[in-house]
């Protein structure tokens, strides 16, 4: 033990005071010649052991208190060797970057890599001299900075460290180091350093180091793994497709598995859970570093178009987050679609409903699809049907028009597409109540638009769709720029006559010219959707575009009010999900896998009727429910989604040493382990307080006695 102010140790002489007081007090004792010595000695024998012990303890306590004070003022300290960066002992500004990405949650003995990293970060903070300015950042993608301003308050940093929970997001070291550099740029200290506590996984460094080309702060990496390699096995992907061969409600669950080790795995257990219940189990052999696939067939037994949670799980290893993966599935099994083929052809792929029916069957497994010619359709045949699609029908009969009006008003869905055979005049006359807008004249595109890369070359003049508005529920699941949809070319379409503005009517898609492409209208309890072009390849190549299937699927769901899964229903941790308000909904609530609830309120002044939910840092299923203007709460299963791990986190490959941004060795250059100064006055102060309490208790006891 050494002292910063050894001269103050002279104060230790104060420790003699209690002894002097004791001796002087003894001399000052009143002498009394007493007759009953025999009784006195007996009484003294009775209590002497207790009394002497108390006297000794009192003397020790008082001596300890008298000695502790000068010791505390002398600032004692001890020096201990440490494996923490020796650079931390300099005066400096430092940003601590703690890797809280998913891979840090893997087990390391009784704790996790994250806990190990946090412990070392905590030890480093305590090791810093008191004049070091500190900030604290996290390395996971999209994380918020914990302390973004440099401050010498170590207690605040320690408190912030304590509150951090390892996330399921992937790492983004470039962003973290970039932000750390920005924080350090305003530092007053000459030495500016970034201390990164990480497992040095290669994933997360794809964007480089993020450090500025010049004037970058020093980076010190603390590899909490000790450079020990680790093997891992993961479920990389889970896909669910209809499986009619499995019977009604049959699905096929395809799981892609991977091994990230040098040994591989024989007989790896793979299980299937549906709605949390284990329904199947199998085994897979994985070669070292290889991939494997497992397919499960299963029949969903629930009634109606309910949502299901499908989970594939493999035998556990140290990294548990990638040992299972979820998929959100909804089957519209009760959907019964009647397609009226207005332009039958002998060649199947030229038949009007060919692409439309295929999209329905594949997009909505379980949906019953019936195709009839217009003459075969009677008003009675609408019974039991939930969706009627009139594809390029020349003219509906009066009876059929009346039957369809009743059908839609009662809640049925009607999809209308046009074509060369449509007689707009009769349609406008007989279907006026149902058509979102009166049909006009066909229009042929006059100019050849810009040609997209790798698209099918067609020299016919065509027009494209205008940028889509994803705030519409039907389009919410499409990519932001509408890939697969806006690339479609429209050679001919039917113009629609103007109609008065109405709350029941809305344009979902428009052509670049501004003409409506897809219009919907609420009629009674049902809904009608009008596509102003064909659903075969006669007027457009939309049917062969990737966006056709989701467009038909979502249109069908919307028309019959069936909720369903979409591409956006499966996110990777850290990705955002757009949630759309519907009708008079005022509030959306997201129940997270850990039970917490996130609430978004509808902004009356907002131009959009959607919110972006980005707190997807927990794996599992997120359920959404809506609260209407009248306070009624209803589930919004079509907005439910699952969050899975970003599979980059499963790969244990380490960062190439040549790409490491750190340039300072952890150990001191002399080979001697660095020493860490530990101040002892806190301990002494605690001991002094304890002694004071003892002294008070003993004195009180003595007075009571």
């Amino acid at each position: 033990m050494r002292f910063l102010a050894p001269s103050l140790l002279l104060g230790l002489l104060a420790a003699l005071l209690p002894w002097l007081v004791h001796l002087i007090g003894k001399r000052r004792a009143l002498p009394v010649r007493f007759a009953a010595m025999q009784l006195l000695m007996r009484a003294e024998r009775r209590i002497s052991a207790r009394r002497r012990l108390r006297e000794i303890l009192l003397l020790v306590a008082r001596t300890g208190v008298a000695a502790a004070l000068p010791l505390i003022f002398a600032r004692p300290f001890a020096e201990r060797t440490t494996d923490l960066p020796v650079a931390s002992l300099d005066p400096q500004s430092a940003v601590i970057v703690l890797d809280d990405s998913a891979s840090m949650s893997r087990a390391a003995g009784l704790s996790t890599m994250f806990e190990r990293a946090r412990d070392r970060a905590r030890a480093l903070v305590r090791q810093f001299p008191s004049d070091v300015d500190l900030a604290l950042l996290l390395a996971s993608a999209g994380s918020s900075p914990k302390i973004s301003e440099l401050s010498p308050e170590r207690a605040r940093v320690l408190e912030a460290l304590e509150s951090i929970v390892c996330s399921a997001r992937p790492a983004d070291y470039a962003s973290a180091l970039r932000n750390a550099s920005l924080i350090l740029a305003g530092s007053a200290h000459a030495k500016r350093r970034i201390y990164l506590f990480t497992d040095l996984q290669a994933a997360g460094w794809e964007s480089g180091t993020g450090l500025p080309a010049s004037g970058a702060p020093e980076v010190i990496i603390d590899d909490v793994t000790g450079a020990a390699p680790w093997g891992n096995r993961a479920v990389l992907d889970v896909g669910v497709v209809p499986a009619p061969e499995a019977g009604a409600g049959g699905i096929a669950v395809d799981a892609e598995l991977a091994d990230f080790s040098l040994t591989g795995m024989r007989g790896l257990g793979v299980g299937l859970k549906v709605d949390g219940v284990a329904v199947a189990k199998g085994f897979v052999d994985l070669a070292p570093g290889g991939r494997g696939h497992k397919r499960f067939l299963h029949r969903l037994t629930g009634e109606g178009g309910g949502a299901h949670e499908v989970e594939v799980e493999i035998d556990g290893d140290a990294f548990r987050l990638d040992d299972h993966r979820l998929a959100h599935v909804e089957l519209a099994r009760s959907m019964s679609v009647l397609i009226v083929n207005g332009d039958p052809r002998t060649a199947r792929n030229e038949d009007e409903p060919f692409f439309f029916a295929a999209a329905l069957r594949n997009g909505l497994p379980g949906a019953a699809v019936t195709i009839k010619l217009p003459d075969d359709v009677s008003p009675e045949s609408l019974g039991g049907t939930t969706l009627v699609a009139l594809l390029n029908v020349a003219q509906p009969s009066q009876a059929m028009a009346s039957a369809l009006a009743r059908f839609v008003s009662a809640g049925g869905g009607l999809f209308i597409s046009v074509g060369d055979r449509v007689d707009a005049t009769i349609w406008n006359e007989r279907m006026a109540k149902l058509l979102p807008q009166p049909l006009g004249l066909p229009r042929t595109a006059s100019a050849l638009p810009g040609q997209h890369a790798s698209e099918i070359v067609d020299d016919r003049p065509a027009e494209r769709l205008a940028p889509i508005d994803r705030s519409h529920p039907l389009l919410a699941s499409f990519p932001e720029r509408g890939e697969g949809l806006v690339s479609a070319r429209f050679f001919k379409y039917m113009l629609l006559d103007p109609a008065p503005e109405s709350a029941e009517r809305s344009v979902i898609l428009r052509y670049e010219s501004g003409a409506p492409a897809l219009v919907e209208k609420q009629v009674g309890k049902g809904r009608v959707m009008l596509l102003s072009t064909t659903v075969d390849r006669e007027w457009t190549d939309l049917p062969i575009r990737t966006g056709f299937l989701p467009l038909v699927r979502e249109a069908a769901r919307r028309l019959v009010g069936v909720t369903g899964d979409d591409e956006a229903a499966s996110l990777r941790a850290g990705e955002a999900r757009t949630l759309v308000f519907s009708g008079d909904e005022q509030r959306l609530e997201v129940s997270r896998p850990d039970g917490s609830v996130w609430v978004a309120r509808r902004e009356p002044a907002s131009a959009t009727n959607s919110v972006l939910y980005s707190e997807t840092d927990r794996l599992g299923t997120y359920h959404v429910r809506a609260v209407g203007a009248d306070g009624t709460v209803s589930a919004r299963p079509e907005l439910d989604f699952v969050v899975n791990l970003d599979t980059r986190e499963s790969n244990p490959a380490r960062l190439d040493p040549a790409l490491r941004p750190d340039r300072i060795a952890l150990a001191s250059p002399g080979g001697k382990p660095p020493k860490h100064r530990v101040e002892l006055w806190h301990t002494l102060a605690a001991i002094m307080i304890a002694l004071l309490l003892c002294e008070s208790a003993l004195t009180l006891r003595r007075r009571r006695a």
């Binding site: 007090g25 003894k26 000052r28 004792a29 009143l30 002498p31 009394v32 010649r33 007493f34 007759a35 009953a36 010595m37 025999q38 009784l39 006195l40 000695m41 007996r42 009484a43 003294e44 009775r46 209590i47 009394r51 003595r702 006695a705």
Partner: protein
């Protein structure tokens, strides 16, 4: 036998002087008379009840006896001459035995135990003298220091007073030895009144036997037909230890090596318990030996103590 305790815990009767007030009186004789008068206010009974005309025994006629005392009825029955003897004619002698060792000199407030014993002894001697009985005195420490045989001669009581007034506390205590000597010298039935603090002589204390065995001596006296009463005198300090300071205690008697440095307040509770147990042991030992035990604190009015003693004795005789 009767026993009792008198001390400051009981309020003194009006007109009874406490020991400090008594000490202000000029002579021991006056103190004795004051005590007796205080004790006998409203109570005119003798120390030896049944005197005057009460018949006690027959004795064979001897030349010199009054003819009128001859019991002619007894002569007729036994054909020999007997004279009647009455209570006031029995030779009842009273021995006052006082412990005058150094420990009896302890005094912090009030009077010492020896002074207090002197007050009681002088009052008793005065009373005995008034009744025409013989009173004697033995002052002892580790040996018999002064011995005045009982007598009814004129000036006997004054001699008792003189010896009591001149007594100074000194020496170690050996009451057993003194009482042993006394027992050897008394050949007639007597009332023996012992006054002592009884410290360092306990009935049950292991090792005390070697120092004299006072209880055994008292039992022997009682077995020989003597009437024995024991006044156990203690200073209030020896009952309660009412000190607050750090005290260096030393023994009082010569050659006593015992010392103790202690915060007296720490010891007070334990000391009170020890003192009470000490008195209880003596009380039990006296009860067993049919000896009258009477405990008195030196802050109690002596007349009160004397009155209680006499009252108990009269009650015992009546029953």
């Amino acid at each position: 036998m009767s026993e009792g305790a008198t001390g400051s815990g009981e309020p003194p009767r009006p007109g009874l002087l406490d020991p400090v007030d008594l000490a202000r009186l000029a002579s021991l004789e006056l103190r004795a008379r004051t005590i007796v008068e205080g004790a006998f206010s409203g109570m005119h009974r003798n120390l030896h009840p049944g005197t005057s005309v009460e018949f006690t025994e027959h004795r064979e006629y001897a030349p010199g006896d009054e003819i009128r005392r001859i019991d002619w009825k007894a002569v007729g029955r036994a054909d020999r001459y007997f004279v009647k003897r009455f209570e006031d004619e029995t030779e009842m002698r009273t021995f006052l035995v006082l412990d005058a060792s150094a420990s009896m000199g302890y005094r912090r407030l009030g009077v010492s135990k020896l002074d207090y014993a002197g007050y009681l002894a002088s009052a008793l001697a005065y009373l005995v003298g008034q009744q025409g009985d013989a009173a004697g005195l033995l002052l002892f420490d580790e040996k018999a220091r002064s011995f005045l045989p009982p007598s009814t001669r004129p000036g006997q009581i004054r001699e008792v007073f003189r010896l009591l007034e001149s007594a100074q506390p000194a020496g170690r205590t050996d009451a057993a030895l003194a009482l042993g000597r006394l027992g050897e010298q008394i050949d007639k039935r007597s009332l023996i009144i012992v006054m002592s603090d009884l410290l360092d002589s306990e009935p049950d204390e292991p090792g005390v036997e070697a120092r004299g065995a006072l209880p055994e001596r008292l039992r022997q006296l009682r077995a020989r037909g003597h009437d024995v009463a024991l006044f156990h005198l203690l200073d209030p300090d020896e009952v309660e230890l009412p000190f607050d300071d750090l005290i260096f205690f030393e023994g009082m008697e010569p050659g006593d090596p015992r010392t103790l440095l202690a915060q007296a307040s720490d010891l007070a509770q334990a000391f009170k318990r020890e003192s009470a147990a000490f008195r209880d042991r003596w009380r039990a030992a006296c009860l067993e030996a049919s000896i009258e035990y009477r405990f008195a604190r030196t802050d109690a009015p002596p007349a009160e103590v004397l009155r209680a003693f006499l009252a108990d004795r009269q009650r015992a005789v009546r029953h």
